[in-house]
């Protein structure tokens, strides 16, 4: 039993990392007032591209960069639609989602289920001197470590720096920010791109760290869960770490339970992350605490001479 527990706990960070990266990325988006529902598509694009590049014989680092590039491209398409053309953000997000899922399926067709090296934790433990449980938690690959540092960096930039102040102003009150001399469109587009990079890394993490293969549909709703997790963490990247660990823990339970031979229906286990999302939204709705942190101009396109 103790071994099962250790095995479970040590896999939590790697399961939490994609959630955390995507959520941190979406927090950047939403604090600037842009709601990006295309995260799932961006993740899929990055996941397939990075695997394909590695299969083509490029190194893992270059594969990751290409994955980021592919995700960024899709995020840029979304950003142009949502920020510059002022298409309805929900609609633009759904377009980006559908496009990402469709194109990734097309690109990955015929390359499914082929194992790549990807990114793994260093062989042998760097923390062997620590108790086993703690060492298990700390022995992670570098991309997983990056996810946690990225979340802290996102929090610091948004809450403590000059750029973050402008970003928040754009998301809370675009006309006021404009009057204060902040380039609203530029900041929003920048936020979409920065958020897109993090969502793309989340997707590449899934295929390079998590699965070491590409399978169509492997993002499996994590992008959507990340959208919900932005609310759960109340637009705060530090709280997102806690939320991601919670969802990572639930997700990490799935393979443990499956391999333990316990007699639990497979479908029930597999739907547990979504049940957790639903449960959270229910609880949040009952206590209605999430809304007060929501950026006031979220989802509202801005055009200077338009009367509001």
């Amino acid at each position: 039993m103790m071994e099962l527990f250790t095995a479970w706990v040590s896999t939590i960070p790697a399961f939490a990392a994609p959630f955390l990266l995507a959520t941190a990325g979406l927090i950047i988006n939403e604090r600037a007032g842009v709601m990006n529902l295309g995260a799932e598509g961006v993740m899929a694009m990055a996941a397939v591209t990075s695997v394909l590049m590695e299969m083509a014989g490029h190194g893992t680092a270059l594969a990751l960069l290409c994955g980021i590039g592919a995700g960024l491209g899709l995020a840029a398409i979304f950003g142009i639609m949502a920020v510059f053309l002022r298409v309805d953000q929900v609609l633009a997000g759904l377009v980006a989602f559908a496009l990402g899922i469709g194109v990734s399926g097309f690109l990955g067709d015929g390359s499914e289920n082929q194992t790549v090296n990807g990114i793994s934790p260093p062989p042998g433990s760097d923390f062997a001197f620590l108790p086993k449980l703690l060492a298990g938690i700390l022995d992670q690959d570098w991309l997983t470590w990056f996810a946690f540092f990225a979340a802290i960096a996102v929090w610091f930039i948004i809450e403590r720096t000059d750029i973050g102040l402008r970003l928040r102003a754009v998301g809370e009150d675009a006309p006021a920010a404009d009057a204060a001399g902040v380039n609203v469109a530029l900041y929003r587009f920048g936020a979409v791109l920065a958020g897109g990079v993090l969502c793309a890394i989340a997707g590449a993490h899934l295929s390079l760290v998590g699965a070491h293969i590409w399978v169509d549909g492997m993002v499996a709703g994590r992008g959507w869960i990340a959208v919900a997790m932005v609310t759960l963490s109340r637009w705060n990247a530090l709280r997102a770490i806690a939320a991601a660990l919670l969802f990572g823990a639930i997700q990490a339970l799935v393979p443990q339970l499956l391999s333990s031979g316990m007699n639990v229906p497979v479908y029930f286990i597999q739907m547990s992350p979504y049940l957790a999302t639903l449960a959270y939204l229910l609880i949040a709705g009952l206590f209605a605490k999430g809304a007060d942190a929501q950026p006031a101009d979220l989802g509202r396109p801005y055009l200077r001479e338009e009367r509001r």
Partner: protein
């Protein structure tokens, strides 16, 4: 005796005589409708220049061109003697122009200092929070007021938000200040000090434009005045001293007749206690005021005025009366019977309501006029309840309302948000003045409207009273209260003073009541 100006004196003279701003033949259209049709304006250093005009005359549009929010379609703009064209507010700010809008351009959830850093850090060259704080304190001392740098802006009083706006503009290096109706949202005392501040800013060598439609602001506080009407300049920078209220209002409204106040018939029949409020108490909400033991009664046929500085419980009282806020104790009686709890049922009993925030709580900005007019009729008032709603029925109602209440520039399918302030309020009145109206609650019904719209609204309120309706008028404009009401009470800190006959009270005492009842 003959004397020559020294070279330095001459240069100083040239500098002083140089215009701060010159706008000539400026044109600007939104869609097919011209907002500016050849407007002129000139501003000298060291003066307070009043820019006067009705709603929609183009004052704000012209100043928005100067401040870079709009770009002109045609015309000349010179700042400090040099031709300029501002594509962005930021470019105008670089040229030393700062505008304080009627709707403040502050980011509500951020703090005072964060707002200042956001707007001014680059121009003022602050590298740290401490530097920003120092600059803020130095300026505060110069202007003679203190703001808490860590206060959240959306929790501050409106007058403090305005001070912050002025600081923001000055710290960003503005030497030409445009104040868009700075007194519209302030009480008497606050307005006096804001206008005094404008004056001292001008005396310190800056130039101040005061957009207003209050004649008092012009006559009491400005050096020169420009009057606009329908996108054109009617009076171009005349000295304010020689002006009279009559000459200015003539220029403002042109030859169109100003609505006469219909005298209220003396033989009105008062019906006692149409609306009776007994020991009403309401708990304080997050940023609001608690109401304590409020007692008053409004007779049918009278206008009952409630004076007071905004934010002393007026909003809470109104919400309790219309049924959207729960009472802790007390009762609201309508003609001797307890009011039903739901807003819809109250409306059906004859309660009508003109909210202070007419776009937020009154009209549906995105929906067309015909829906705005018809929807409430479907909700309350019984006779017009129906399940099938036809476009022709809605259009008919809307057309009647438009013509009867003289809503200018309106079509039945126009979104309500595109109406100007005065016309939106007329639409609001048309919506509420339906059959079965017995109690009317009007909260700041004339705020931000021009003279003619004010008079139209006030005439409607009087007509409602004359027809036997109990009218509760809540306003921060003491002139309006004194002019319209039969009886007056004052709200302060969630309490209400005993009502008095308007003929028996004097302004000074009301003013003291507004401030003193702690």
């Amino acid at each position: 005796m003959e004397y020559e100006l020294s070279r330095i004196q001459r240069e100083r003279f040239d500098e002083i005589s140089k215009l701060a701003v010159r706008l000539a033949e400026v044109e600007k259209s939104f869609g097919p409708r011209p907002a500016l049709a050849g407007a002129n304006f000139s501003l000298e250093w060291g003066e307070v220049h009043a820019l006067l005009g009705e709603n929609g005359a183009g004052k704000s549009t012209l100043m928005n061109v100067l401040a870079g929010f709009y770009t002109a379609d045609a015309g000349i703009l010179e700042v400090d003697g040099e031709a300029a064209r501002f594509e962005t507010p930021s470019a105008a700010a670089d040229a030393g122009i700062g505008m304080v809008h009627q709707h403040f351009q502050l980011v509500g959830p951020l703090s005072v200092l964060e707002n200042l850093r956001l707007a001014c850090a680059r121009r003022a060259g602050w590298r740290s929070k401490a530097e920003a704080l120092r600059a803020m304190e130095t300026l505060g001392k110069e202007l003679g007021f203190r703001l808490d740098p860590s206060a959240r802006v959306d929790e501050m009083a409106v007058s403090d938000q305005q001070k912050l706006e002025i600081m923001k503009v000055l710290l960003a290096g503005a030497r030409i200040l445009v104040l868009d109706e700075p007194t519209a949202v302030l009480t008497e005392q606050e307005a006096q000090s804001a206008l005094g501040l404008a004056r001292s800013l001008a005396r310190s060598g800056r130039a101040v434009v005061l957009i207003t439609h209050k004649l008092r602001d012009v006559l009491g506080f400005s050096d020169r005045v420009t009057v606009m009407r329908a996108g054109r300049t009617i009076i171009d920078g005349a000295a304010s001293e020689g002006m009279t209220a009559a000459s200015l209002s003539d220029a403002m409204v042109g030859s169109a007749p100003v609505l006469e106040m219909p005298p209220l018939a003396d033989g009105r029949q008062f019906k006692p206690d149409m609306l009776k409020v007994q020991a009403l108490s309401v708990p304080a909400s997050a940023h609001g005021v608690a109401l304590t033991e409020i007692d008053f009664a409004v007779q049918g046929g009278e206008i009952f005025g409630v004076a007071g500085i905004g934010g002393n419980g007026q909003a809470e009282l109104v919400e309790a009366l219309i049924g959207v806020r729960a009472l802790t104790s007390g009762a609201v009686l309508f003609d001797g019977v307890d009011m039903p709890p739901s807003p819809e049922a109250r409306r059906e009993r004859g309660l009508r309501y003109i909210p202070a925030d007419r776009m937020g709580m009154g009209l549906f900005g995105e929906l067309p006029l015909n829906v705005n007019i018809s929807l409430p009729r479907l909700l309350g008032g019984g006779a017009e309840k129906k399940w099938l709603v036809t476009k022709s029925w809605m259009n008919g109602l809307a057309r009647d309302a438009i013509s009867q209440f003289e809503v200018a520039g309106a079509q039945v399918d126009l979104p309500a948000r595109l109406l100007s302030g005065g016309n939106a309020q007329k639409l609001m009145l048309a919506r509420e003045f339906t059959g079965g109206m017995e109690i009317l609650i009007a909260h700041s019904p004339t705020r931000g409207l021009d003279i003619r719209a004010v008079q139209a609204v006030q005439a409607r309120l009087r007509a409602a009273a004359a027809s036997g309706c109990a009218v509760l008028l809540i306003s921060e404009d003491l002139d309006e209260i004194m002019q319209l009401s039969d009886r007056v009470a004052v709200m302060s800190h969630g309490r209400m003073s005993p009502a008095e006959n308007v003929a028996a009270v004097d302004r000074a005492r009301i003013g003291r009541l507004m401030l003193e009842m702690h």
